[in-house]
Symmetry: C2
Subunit: 138 residues, 2 copies
């Protein structure tokens, strides 16, 4: 195995949201993002067993609108902020554009629809993994 | 785009650790994991600019030894624990085996070697993304 090996990721579901244009999306969920529905692919619904309303989860998404060639950015898109490596920021443009979103589960409908809030990812964003929040940790 | 679309992930570096066998790895970093060195691929070192010793970061890894067909597990590998969906656990076996590790940066040597602790990922684990910890959030 070396750094040119690649791995294939397949969505386990998709974000359904009123946020259509990424220009309208806040930079972080805590900055006024709306609730959204995560539609889990039927093949994976057994894997959501145990996710309950009221719990906090971490959604990992594939930020499909990102530019994967960007290595440095002006944080928060502000040219007055000095350039910084993308790994030292939460910028969506990065070599592997994985989004990390801590959200609360409001409702779980038939295991295939998770209503969560707040989520800054736009409508159609692939979801690639879900994890529980560990106490005071992630 | 639909759920059969796949995305290609390429490692941005690798874990170098004294943990060789996954049987010896603790389930969480906080459960006695050692320090480790993240060797960043030279192509991506510009993206680490701004990561400083003393800071906390989130490493995303590709858990290459995982079984991607597992949808439910007995939490903590204990058969007395009832089966639970992998998305409600931190089990490494899951459809897209992404590891999420909150670690402290102890040292950054020449931007290509990040010494971090504690890290439960075994030697040779691909690193796929790095993000800063947001205050009280992730």
């Amino acid at each position: 195995m070396n750094s040119t090996t690649t791995y294939s990721i397949r969505p386990i579901g998709f974000v359904h949201s009123q946020l259509i244009d990424k220009k309208d999306a806040p930079e972080q969920g805590s900055e006024g993002a709306p609730e959204a529905c995560i539609k889990i692919d039927k093949e994976f619904t057994k894997a959501t067993d145990g996710i309950v309303a009221g719990s906090e989860i971490i959604l990992l998404t594939w930020l499909h609108l990102s530019d994967r060639n960007v290595l440095q950015v002006h944080p928060r898109n502000n040219p007055n902020n000095p350039l910084k490596g993308v790994f030292a920021t939460r910028a969506p443009d990065r070599p592997n554009p994985i989004g990390l979103h801590r959200v609360q589960v409001l409702e779980t409908a038939e295991s295939v629809n998770l209503i969560v809030s707040p989520l800054e990812a736009v409508d159609g964003t692939p979801v690639i993994d879900i994890k529980p929040v560990l106490c005071n940790q992630h």
